[in-house]
């Protein structure tokens, strides 16, 4: 009896310990556990942590790319940490910065994905590693100008832009410039909608583009609050447009909110993210008559970057991964899975891909106004939404 009991206890504790150990192993030190099992290859496995954030489609993309990479490089394991958008991107950056300041390396973050704002912020704090073609041969595929913009500190691995999506059945005279768009809105009351700028980038881009239309061209890279006094003209334009908007001033929530209106035919034209439109066209969620176009001056758009913290200790593995991400094979996944514009030059992609992005993957502008968008949203809420 006693024997049985103790055997049971032994087995239970063994199972528990084993499961605990293997749990630790997979999350902390993949190399050790595989070696202990005796099944691992002779070379030591390296694991690095990759933090990224964004919408669900970004998560889906990496869940496709990482296994592809790991299959080819069995000695490298990528620990992917997905931070849902809006909740944790800022803390991740703060973690890297805090780890550096307290002399703790890179804070266990070996690769980080974010937009232009964070790249320049980290440049000031001297956080990012300088990337070169010596380590990452495929960097040659990337447009040198985009790399110069970020002083070779970050890799633009994909990009997307806000475009004008319209129903080609009802919109015959497609607007080419921003003024054309306003003209179209005025002559077609309640057939245009943009989403509440505080809830999504598409609406935010429409608002920002309208405000900065009246400012000098280089103002879109100005993060100084003193520029705010020049916003008045743009806001009064938006206020005036209000009565021509869908429902005489209804601004749906989230980027998807306006896309839903376009699908149901309640509006004929909206600003929207190119990748969302192309993806939903592909899945048949948007009517086939939906088309996209960019206008001049262009809406907001630009690459999403990958940065390597300077103090990371696993750079060699990270470089291999980055090289893979920039290969045409991986870039094809970017195009197929999330309909992003490829990060490498279009000439490296198939003709089919080149054709599909015609007219959409160019002409956008990269706004970099820092925290000023907070003030835009605040003013928009009290002046335009509540007029």
């Amino acid at each position: 009896m006693l024997n049985k009991k103790s055997a049971f206890a032994f087995v239970t504790s063994f199972v528990l310990a084993a499961s605990l150990l293997s749990g630790c192993g997979s999350s902390k030190d993949g190399g050790a556990s595989s070696a202990a099992e005796g099944t691992g290859t002779s070379s030591k496995q390296v694991e690095f942590s990759f933090y990224y954030s964004g919408s669900q489609n970004v998560d889906d993309l990496w869940k496709n790319l990482i296994p592809m990479f790991e299959e080819k490089n069995p000695d490298i394991k990528v620990k992917a940490v997905y931070v849902p958008s809006g909740t944790g991107a800022q803390p991740t950056y703060d973690r890297i910065l805090a780890a550096k300041q307290s002399g703790k390396g890179s804070g266990d973050i070996d690769l980080f994905e974010d937009g232009l704002g964070v790249v320049t912020k980290g440049q000031k704090d001297d956080l990012w590693d300088n990337l070169s073609t010596d380590h990452i041969p495929n960097l040659n595929n990337v447009d040198q100008n985009t790399l110069n913009d970020v002083s070779n500190l970050a890799i633009p691995y994909r990009s997307s832009a806000v475009v004008l999506a319209y129903n080609s059945e009802t919109v015959k005279d497609v607007p080419k410039t921003l003024d054309d768009v306003y003209e179209w809105i005025r002559s077609h009351p309640e057939r245009f909608a943009y989403n509440d700028p505080s809830t999504g980038g598409a609406g935010s881009s429409f608002v920002t583009t309208s405000i900065y239309k009246f400012l000098p061209e280089d103002a879109i890279h100005n993060t100084d609050p003193s520029i705010e006094s020049q916003w008045d003209q743009g806001f009064s334009l938006l206020k005036d447009l209000g009565k021509y908007m869908y429902g005489k001033g209804i601004y749906p929530k989230k980027n998807q909110g306006t896309l839903d209106l376009l699908t149901s035919g309640e509006v004929d034209m909206i600003p929207a993210w190119s990748d969302m439109v192309l993806d939903q066209l592909d899945k048949g969620q948007l009517p086939e008559t939906t088309k996209i176009t960019q206008i001049t001056p262009g809406f907001n758009g630009g690459p999403t970057y990958l940065m390597v913290p300077k103090l990371s200790e696993k750079k060699d593995a990270v470089y291999k991964f980055l090289d893979f991400v920039l290969s045409p094979e991986a870039q094809n996944v970017v195009v197929d899975k999330m309909h992003g514009f490829p990060g490498i030059k279009l000439t490296n992609m198939s003709q089919e891909v080149q054709d599909s992005f015609k007219g959409a993957s160019e002409g956008f502008r990269s706004f970099n106004i820092g925290d000023l968008d907070k003030d835009i949203n605040k003013r928009w809420q009290s002046e335009v939404a509540a007029q």
Binding site: D196, G247, P252, K253, S264, G265, E266, K374
Partner: protein, 281 residues
């Protein structure tokens, strides 16, 4: 140690856990948000956030909008739930059986899905509008992206639980009381207003507290189907906190919402205490 002292210790030790939980998850957060809300831009303490809350045109219209929706929703929910509960208590038959089987369904549908369902049903080009269009009605009132939509959603979310609450109170009204009242010649109206309503009044108050607090703090439905401005306080709070990142103002709004809720809570507790003192005297 005297017996009463021992009993006192026992009493306190039984109350202590719930008291501690209350302090930890209610009192401390409220105090800290009160403190946060009194901070001004220069790091000092004053009432500037509250002044802004009540003088800013947008915030004031948000508050009025929230109160309007809350009061209208509460009254409608209580009216409908009470009539449903009374109907189910004093009638029997096919209809009652089906109401009893189905009225709980909304509780089991996640609020996001229910809200999208409402948008599909009542939107500008939704099913309702299409059906009406085929019946020859051209104009369809704006329900989604409007106050009416939020109130409808509130009805959907709150009626089931309130009906259940009131139903159980009504089943506590003994048949004997009603029959004896009938025997001495009381009319239907008289029985309702002199017997049934007073006997269930306390539960009605409880229900009102639940509905009021649930509606005033609601977020999902007002966020998805409410107008851009004015907003309900929950939506506005989220925007102030995570978009404008003005924590002090968000804290002030939160504390004001808490005050509104405790105002209703006060009446509830007062009636409870009254009842207790009547019982013990």
């Amino acid at each position: 140690m005297s017996k009463s002292f021992k009993r006192g210790i026992l009493g306190i030790s039984m109350v202590l856990p719930s008291f501690l939980v209350l302090v930890l998850i209610v009192v401390i957060p409220i105090m800290s948000s009160l403190r946060e809300s009194l901070k001004n831009d220069n790091g000092g303490y004053d009432l500037s956030n509250y002044t802004y809350l009540f003088t800013d045109k947008l915030m004031r219209s948000n508050i009025i909008f929230t109160l309007e929706i809350t009061i209208v929703s509460s009254i409608l929910v209580l009216l409908i739930s009470y009539s449903l509960a009374v109907y189910m208590r004093f009638n029997n038959g096919f209809a009652v059986r089906w109401i009893r089987r189905t009225y709980m369904i909304p509780i089991f549908i996640p609020s996001v899905i229910a809200t999208y369902g409402l948008i599909q049903l009542l939107g500008n080009h939704g099913w309702m509008a299409r059906i009406l269009y085929h019946l020859g009605t051209d104009s369809f009132p704006r329900i989604i992206f409007d106050m009416k939509g939020i109130i409808l959603a509130n009805l959907w979310f709150n009626i089931p639980f309130t009906t259940m609450l009131l139903g159980s109170a009504l089943s506590g009204v003994p048949d004997a009381v009603i029959e004896s009242a009938k025997d001495v010649g009381a009319g239907r109206m008289r029985i309702f207003f002199r017997l049934i309503l007073p006997l269930t009044f306390k539960t009605l108050l409880v229900a009102l507290t639940f509905v009021f607090m649930g509606v005033i703090g609601s977020f999902t439905a007002p966020f998805l189907i409410g107008p851009n401005a004015p907003q309900m306080l929950g939506v506005s709070m989220e925007q102030i906190f995570s978009v404008f990142q003005d924590r002090q103002l968000a804290a002030a709004t939160a504390f004001f919402t808490f005050l509104l809720c405790s105002f209703v809570g006060y009446f509830y507790i007062r009636s409870m205490i009254k009842e207790e003192s009547v019982r013990s005297s």
